[in-house]
Amino acid sequence: MINADRRPERVALFVTCLVDLLYPEVGEATVSLLEEAGVAVDFPVGQTCCGQPPFNSGFVEDARRMGRTLLDAFEDAEAVVSPSGSCTAMVRSHFPHLFEGTPDEERARGLTSKTYELSEFLVDVCGATSQGSLDARVTFHDSCHGLRELGLTGQGRALLEEVDGLELVEMARPDACCGFGGTFSVRLPEMADAMADDKLDQTAATEADVLVAGDSGCLMHLVGRASRRGDRARPVHLAVLLAEARGLR
């Protein structure tokens, strides 16, 4: 599906509801990284949410209703890029069967074949560009859906390794879930907190200054927990850290 030999001139940004409402700076960093990579960015304003909260709770019809906003918004886009492995995976792994047998089946498949996660798009489609520099010790959390549903293993790390002065240190289990899990974090909050503690303890053991992840869901959960615990490491979205390193903010 990934067409590495042809970088589109324009992409549509699928910003995700979390970034739009809670972390607009992640969206802005995403735009500047894409523009720096030589790609023009559109933002179709009809988009809202991929529908993952109802989908993961079992409410399929409600999920379709939300997801349809993306089918409408990105119908004419050549490619769609999102600063979220989880929301990208919702489109790529689940939209085809979510809309199977509905009048939107074709449109869903069309969107699936042109949607990319940000680090994947930057590395696999654009090829890595400028490095920037940042004096920081950084550890990387592999968000589950990017890792297991999209198969993103090295892209985020590759981008970080290019940054001058940035020291990348691995935690014991970077691929272990942080405990966010969408509605899971509200259904079983005590469990979700225990899982966050596990991830933050692993982070602390690396003595990193920054805990980087590619998903704002994980980060909302980890930031919220770290603030209660008083952790030293600052959880930050990959796009924000890269934009910071490249002086794009």
Binding site: V15, V45, T48, C177, G179, P189, M191, D198, S227
Partner: protein, 468 residues
């Protein structure tokens, strides 16, 4: 000595109890890391994907033809003198075993590890009849004297440190043992050895039955399975009806897959194939061999979208890798099957009424699906069960929440209105850009975490500023 599970009606309640005992998560974490590490070291450089694909194909083929293979197996087994009993329910299975024990005037039963026997609470029933039942797997034995069910399907006492085991042994046996594992094991061995020789009946599980020869196979590391099945005059094996393979050809693929996935071993220490009771020319072995084939809700899964859960070979890898299981052990799942396999299987066996909350006891991280040696799409089954639950058992409040939410967010205009209203609504709760105490249902978030506020300017508002 009835074993009591962790108190609580729901996963959340039981998990609350277990999370309050930090030693559980600590002990589990290091034990599971060891098991996963051994597995990874063994499998490094092998074509794991090819092995998993082969495993999946074998199990899918077998389960698609289950009735035929069970028939072939039982004919062959009976021809060699094995007594086969097909039990539709747990109660039927229990009653059959009780009858055999009664007929043999049994007073002591030794048991090898068997999750199927745990599933039907066999030991409790026999003890009601005044029979002493002794678990002979070391982990099961530890759990038995602790009066607790197993916490993991292949490592029953994995949540305990050796210090805890030492204290338990010393308390129960009035000994003064050290926490040296070799010393603890030697003590248990001594204690158990005498019992094997005295026992009237041995009960074991079955790892795989083999249709072409009517055999059963048992894999253990401690040799207790071999002693339980060969020393007492009667051997009763309890087997889930799905635990069958067509022939030895398939067994040679499945066994290494099982031991590698379970404990990171190329082969286990003991490996038995049993094809019948003692024949006149045999120097030893049991006079009677009974195999109880347990349905107990399994055949009802066959025609459903969840059929592949019957492919499971009970290796426990999904438990080892599950970040939820890791915090609380199998005890949080309210059944003998904990972790992802239990979160799928238990609602299917016992019904959504009783266990409908289990499919939500997962962050859907997908690590279970990735590690499963027979490629059961565990997290997709969890999603499927959540869909069933949303249809069948979701409360009005939850239904309405998602209905309203999706209505609001299915229109960009209403979505923008939602953002504006949230900004107003959060005002009394916000301290800077975060909320430390939110009203219900978000209070469930803020109990342990800060919640970010809706941004002063959302991304889309900033974007339109930029255009202006």
């Amino acid at each position: 000595m009835t074993r009591t599970g962790t108190p609580g009606r729901t996963f959340e309640q039981r998990a609350h109890v277990l999370l309050g005992q930090p030693s559980i998560g600590r002990n589990l974490g290091s034990a599971l890391d060891t098991m996963l590490g051994t597995r990874a070291a063994l499998l490094a450089g092998t074509d794991l994907e090819a092995m998993r694909t082969a495993g999946e194909q074998i199990r899918a083929h077998t389960i698609a033809n289950l009735a035929g293979y069970l028939e072939e197996w039982s004919e062959k087994a009976e021809a060699r003198g094995t007594r086969v009993f097909f039990a539709d329910t747990g109660a039927e299975a229990v009653n059959y075993v009780r009858d055999v024990c009664r007929r043999r005037h049994a007073s002591l039963v030794v048991k090898g590890k068997s999750m199927a026997s745990e599933e039907i609470a066999l030991a409790d029933a026999l003890e009601t009849d005044g029979i002493e039942v002794l678990e002979t797997d070391l982990g099961e034995y530890i759990q038995q004297i602790a009066e607790e069910p197993p916490a993991h399907i292949i490592a029953p006492a994995v949540h305990r440190s050796r210090g805890e085991v030492r204290d338990l042994f010393n308390r129960v046996h009035g000994t003064d043992l050290s926490d040296e594992p070799a010393r603890l094991t030697a003590f248990a061995r001594e204690h158990l050895r005498a019992k094997f020789l005295e026992a009237d009946v041995g009960i074991t599980g079955v790892n795989f039955a083999i249709a072409e020869t009517g055999s059963i196979s048992i894999v253990t590391n401690e040799g207790n399975g071999r002693m339980s099945s060969s020393l007492p005059p009667v051997h009763i094996a309890i087997m889930g009806m799905e635990r069958i393979l067509p022939s030895f050809r398939e067994l040679t693929v499945m066994l290494p897959l099982l031991t590698a996935s379970a404990t990171g071993q190329r082969v286990s220490t003991y490996y038995n194939v049993i094809s019948g009771p003692r024949r006149p020319e045999d120097p030893d072995g049991p006079e009677e061999l009974h195999v109880v084939v347990l349905d107990n809700g399994r055949s009802a899964i066959l025609p459903t979208e969840y059929r592949s859960i019957l492919h499971c070979i009970r290796c426990g890898a999904c438990q080892n890798v599950c970040p939820v299981f890791r915090q609380v052990s199998g005890h949080a799942y309210g059944s003998v099957y904990g972790g992802p396999i239990g979160a799928v299987l238990t609602p299917l066996l016992r019904g959504m009424e009783e266990a409908g909350d289990l499919p939500h006891a997962s962050s859907l991280c997908g690590a279970c699906t990735d590690i499963c040696p027979v490629k059961i799409p565990l997290h997709e089954h969890l999603l499927g069960l959540r869909r069933d639950g949303a249809r069948e058992r979701a409360g009005a409040a939850e239904r309405t929440t998602f209905r309203l939410w999706s209505w609001a967010w299915s229109s960009p205009r209403r979505y923008r209105l939602f953002a504006r209203l949230s900004r107003l609504g959060q005002f009394p709760f916000a301290r800077g850009n975060r909320v430390r105490r939110a009203p219900f249902p978000l209070s469930r978030w803020t109990r342990g975490r800060d919640l970010p506020t809706v941004a002063r300017r959302t991304f889309r508002e900033r974007w339109s500023d930029r255009g202006a």
